[in-house]
Amino acid sequence: MKATRNEVDFSQFPDSTGHFGRFGGRFVAETLMEALLELDQAWQTYRNDPAFLTELDQDLAYYVGRPSPLYHAERWSRRLGGAQIYLKREDLNHTGAHKINNTVGQALLAKRMGKTRLIAETGAGQHGVASATVAARLGMECVVYMGSEDIQRQALNVYRMRLLGATVQPVTSGSRTLKDALNEAMRDWVANVDNTFYMIGTVAGPHPYPLMVREFQAVIGREAREQMLAAQGCLPDALVACVGGGSNAIGLFHAFLNDADVAIYGVEAAGSGIETGRHAATLCAGRSGVLHGNRTYLLNDDNGQIIETHSVSAGLDYPGVGPEHSWLKDIGRVQYVAVTDAEAIQGFHDLTRIEGIIPALESSHALAYVTKLAPTMRPDQRIVVSLSGRGDKDIYTVAALEGIQL
């Protein structure tokens, strides 16, 4: 069922119960329904409340450091010999990634709802750090669930969270990674709904999370659109962003979805290669299912059991994806592609050496796709790529791949 772009008004999705076509929704146990309804009601109350939005804008300006620059990577563009490449510098935000856009917003909502305790799940630790950061600022208790495997891989971020006063709770069930941390955070929320606010870090989960997180991240695309129009007097020809759960991608894409002439690419993690089975390319290689409260594309086996994913980038290592992405794929508005670990590592080195910017391994997937896309375009065309985070957290991983012990 393909719809042409102009038939869809993207601002009208999701519907009031969180559906993007057949995706999304609210697939949770009854024990969580009232909590979600309460959250939805609070969100509906404050999303257009002038005082709330003013406070949010102040925090984004003075605490996060927005707007983030739209940087013309001239040297890299010349090297690739095609389109002009613009980097949306989310890596320059406080805490070093786009994740803080969302946690600042959800924390304001938690405060207005009278909640005193924040919980979060984290994979690479960036959302955990962003959650611990806002909890510290508001003086709230914070518990971050993190797979014990990820705790081993991301020692630096674990320590950052502890410095910020958060409790990092190791999760030892299942595959001991992000998906299991999400399960455990949901279990905590069920048991502590009265005083606890669950900050989901991506555009997945039950409604209203995919909508709410999108709205908090959509500032990325709104700014990029204005910045491009101001600097160049036109819209970009293409957008590129990496997709794990998909929050930085939706954040960049959303303001452009109704601009039919802007081509949009979401880049997934092909890990060792999709054909090897060791990957996290949910949209490229998965099929529709239900996990973590929404219907979406999933990586699961023939019996509907969720399978373990692989990516060099912990932040993309997730077997689901936000339901809006599943819908955008099916209606053909966004093209989803995948790049391997090796290609992403090359993108990491390229940007570091050519532009003097060390990118996160997640963002490096988007960069790797740009190295393929840009040469197919003319020098008067423009690509905006989401540089979703900085790479300091990944230097141990990259060094280890090169046989260097730090």
């Binding site: 279990r187 239900v290 019996n303 059991q305």
Partner: protein, 283 residues
């Protein structure tokens, strides 16, 4: 008539409450499931809730999670669960079986195949934990067409509007989650449960089962005073895990725990227990 409805009518006439044990299919290994089910029936089970293992059981505590992991490690799947139910049915045509699990294995199999398979195997009810009434229409209409009851959960936080809506869609019985938490959580409060059940009864005539947090005969007896059915899961599953190396002892001791609950429920302060309403019991 659906076996669940018939069973509740028999119990009602006999003045007894239903005892519903839960075990995870394939735990501790697939060969143990059917013998365990028969042992549970002999010990006084009125209805069986058979867990379909899932890799990400969000609403379950550590005991059921680990049971799922053990079962999956032995290759258990929804198709295999249906085969086990079919096998159980060959020797027990009476005891209702409710499948309890999560939606994704059903989505993966396809609703049509699943419902045909469940009907052929002799499944009587389906409780899909992460499928609230709002999202359920597509599954429950074809389920009811083959007289399989969709079972739904209610929680301490469920509002009157949700209770009414859920009760309209449910068949068989309603499963009241006795506390804010996951399966196998700590103490439930019988007085609070009684209060909420009274509220739910003002909206529905369906039998009300209570589960999550019932670990021992005394709690089972207390809940049986106010509910139509007592569901016990984690307490049985953790005993199965502890005795997994000695299957005969496992069947015996798990059955003994259930029998103790049965006895405590039947001996409750209300009128004397009545015999004869039950499936035949043999030692």
């Amino acid at each position: 008539m659906n076996r669940i409805t018939r069973r509740f009518q028999e119990l009602h006439r006999a003045g007894r409450k239903a005892l519903i044990p839960y075990i995870t299919a394939g735990d501790p290994h697939p060969e143990a499931t059917v013998p365990m089910l028969h042992a549970l029936v002999q010990a006084g089970a009125d209805i069986i809730e058979l867990g379909v293992p899932f890799s990400d059981p969000m609403a379950d505590g550590p005991v059921i999670q680990k049971a799922c992991e053990r079962a999956l490690a032995h290759g258990m799947s929804l198709r295999r669960v249906l085969e086990l139910v079919g096998e159980f049915r060959q020797t027990d045509p009476e005891t209702p079986v409710v499948l309890m699990g999560y939606l994704n294995p059903i989505e993966s199999m396809g609703y049509t195949d699943f419902i045909a398979g469940a009907h052929a195997a002799g499944v009587d009810g389906v409780l899909t934990v992460d499928l609230p009434p709002e999202e359920a229409a597509e599954l429950i209409e074809p389920l009811q067409a083959v007289d399989i009851a969709p079972i739904f959960l209610l929680a301490p936080t469920s509002s009157p509007a949700r209770i009414r809506r859920t009760a309209r869609m449910a068949h068989g019985y309603l499963y009241y989650v006795s506390l804010k938490g996951v399966t196998g959580s700590a103490a439930l409060n019988p007085a609070e449960v009684a209060e909420k059940l009274a509220e739910i009864r003002s909206y529905t005539d369906l039998p009300l089962g209570v589960g999550f947090g019932i670990k021992d005969p005394a709690t089972a007896a207390a809940i049986a005073q106010v509910a139509d059915a007592v569901v016990v899961g984690s307490a049985l599953v953790s005993k199965m895990d502890a005795l997994a190396q000695d299957p005969e002892r496992m069947y015996r001791e798990v059955a003994a725990l259930l029998a103790a609950m049965r006895q405590a429920m039947d001996q409750g302060p209300s009128p004397e227990p009545k015999a004869g309403s039950h499936s035949p019991t043999t030692p």
